[in-house]
């Protein structure tokens, strides 16, 4: 069964914002897009950079180190130099809390 972890309050983020979290020891970047929440593993698939330090625009987060783009909703690579997907985690909202599942 999926284990959900409490991550943040729903009002902790505005649209197009990102925050870095540590959930059960796993680094997670939590994003808000058009009112919905998305979570990615908080490590670029190209190098040692935190996506939560990145820049959010047009549904993508831009890595702070080399400007590669990752799709916030899927973790898919969207521009050079990133070629490998970033793991994305399921997210749900329960009341005024955002929860994240790490397994899968």
């Amino acid at each position: 069964m999926t284990e959900w972890h409490d991550a943040a309050a729903t009002d902790a983020l505005s649209d197009d914002e990102v925050m870095g979290l540590s959930i059960a020891g796993v680094p997670v970047a939590l994003f808000r897009q058009e009112g919905a929440f998305f979570a990615l593993h908080d490590l670029c698939s190209h190098g040692a950079a935190r996506l939560s330090d990145g820049f959010v625009e047009n549904g993508c987060v831009e890595c702070p180190l080399h400007q590669g783009l990752v799709d916030i909703r899927s973790g898919a690579p969207c521009s050079a130099p990133i070629t490998e997907p970033v793991r994305s985690y399921p997210v749900r909202v329960v009341g005024d809390r955002v929860e994240i599942a790490l397994d899968r």
Binding site: G54, F55, E62, H66, Q67, A80
Partner: protein
């Protein structure tokens, strides 16, 4: 002619070459694709050569951009370890030193640059003298540093400084000699030079600036450098970090238009419309700079190559990035945007000189020409977006760290010529 018979040839086996080949395939080019590179290695990225790789914590695999498996899968014929010695533009044939040849429909020149050397170096013991451009040179330097006590770096530019930082991390004593009065003087404003100077001294590097070299000689166990001011330095290893020369020999012999690099338009096209160039070797028109620029930067090699490959396939997009460059030294991430060296006034946000913040650089008329961020990538990124939109934050507001950069008051940022 059906596209299946079309042949595209890429000369140069570095970062730009790899991105040209990758992009051609990603954008659907179905013809024959030949990449010819002089180095024996599969195309790789160079930044780690002065950082992780030199330190011994990197790997060839981690920096490879187009490896054997990937090239095979994408159908890129790689002729490695082969130097192109001639291109016949009339017959459209490329010939290598080994006498192999291939006819092209479209040709790409991504020949990069070669490390500059000084006359007279050849008389020195070769195992003591280094330049750093290639993977082979980085491996050689790493081997030399393992047994070295004192490294002398000639040239206080980015490569020299990064090697100095890595050598310090390896426990090697380092002296940097720079003939100009300050570090990175070609591209950086004094405030950044001063900060770099202090950063390196705080990590135990001995800095000698504003002093030229009179002579370099070999000693029994190293090299000795006579300084122009009469001083003398001895070290067991010497690194020359005095810049690169764009590798334009081939293009010159082909009769292409040159000006400190191969001249290209905003799509990477040379004076011959069938031939494109990208990366360190190419000089392109920069809308931001309102001048032509030849950049020696990783992101330029990548994005200009992608733009040229797309243009060769009929795309209409242009390469219009604002110049950007980064360096890592002592765990500090420095990012440069625009042309900060043209600035005469620096306004700091945060405390860049203390390890976190960003200098906004303005010219004499108050126009923002660039910025330098120290561990502040996101602020620089937001600033880039503003500059791309033709705006810049008000200098008086820039220091206000309580307000995110995107909410700072801004104004049009237009340079008068």
């Amino acid at each position: 002619m059906p596209q299946g018979e079309t042949t595209y040839v890429v000369v140069g086996g570095g970062q730009a070459a790899a991105w040209i080949a990758r992009t051609l395939r990603a954008e659907g080019f179905a013809g024959r694709l030949v990449l010819i590179g002089e180095e024996p290695h599969w195309p790789y990225e160079r930044p780690a050569l002065s950082k992780e790789f030199l330190r011994g914590t990197g790997s060839v695999e981690a920096i490879t951009l187009l490896g054997a498996a990937q090239a095979g899968e994408a159908g890129v014929e790689c002729w490695l370890g082969q130097r192109v010695t001639a291109v016949d533009r009339e017959a459209r044939v490329v010939t290598t030193a080994d006498g192999r040849s291939v006819a092209y429909d479209t040709l790409f020149l991504a020949t990069g640059g070669r490390a500059r050397r000084l006359p007279g170096l050849d008389s020195l013991p070769a195992e003591r003298v280094h330049t750093l451009r290639t993977l082979t040179e980085s491996e050689r330097l790493r081997g030399a540093l393992a047994g070295a006590k004192h490294l002398l770096v000639l040239g206080g530019g980015w490569i020299g400084l990064e090697v100095a930082a890595t050598a310090r991390a390896l426990g090697v004593e380092v002296t940097v000699v720079e003939a100009a009065p300050r570090l990175c003087a070609r591209t950086m404003p004094p405030v950044v030079s001063d900060w770099l100077h202090a950063l390196h001294e705080s990590h135990g590097v001995r800095m000698v600036t504003g002093v030229g070299i009179a002579d370099i000689t070999g000693t029994a166990d190293g090299v000795a450098v006579a300084l122009a001011d009469g001083g003398r330095l001895e070290a067991d290893q010497l690194l020359l970090g005095i810049g690169i020369e764009p590798e334009v020999g081939l293009a010159a012999a082909m009769g292409l238009a040159l000006d400190d690099g191969i001249l290209v338009d905003a799509q990477g096209r040379t004076s011959d419309p069938r031939i494109f160039a990208a990366g360190d070797v190419a000089r392109h028109p920069s809308a931001f700079a309102r001048a032509s620029l030849r950049l020696e930067s990783w992101v330029n090699a990548q994005n200009q190559a992608i733009a040229a490959a797309r243009a060769a396939l009929g795309g209409t997009g242009v390469y219009a990035d604002i110049p950007w460059f980064w360096s890592d030294q002592y765990g500090v991430n420095v990012q440069m945007l625009g042309l900060p060296g043209l600035g005469t006034r620096a306004v700091a946000r945060g405390a860049p000189e203390a390890g976190s913040g960003c200098w906004l650089m303005l010219d004499g008329s108050g126009v923002v020409v660039g910025a330098v961020a120290v561990n502040a990538a996101r602020d620089l990124r937001v600033l880039r977006k503003m500059l791309e939109d033709g705006r810049a934050p008000l200098p008086d507001a820039w220091a206000d760290t309580a307000t995110p950069v995107q909410r700072l008051p801004s104004r049009p940022n237009v340079r008068a010529d």
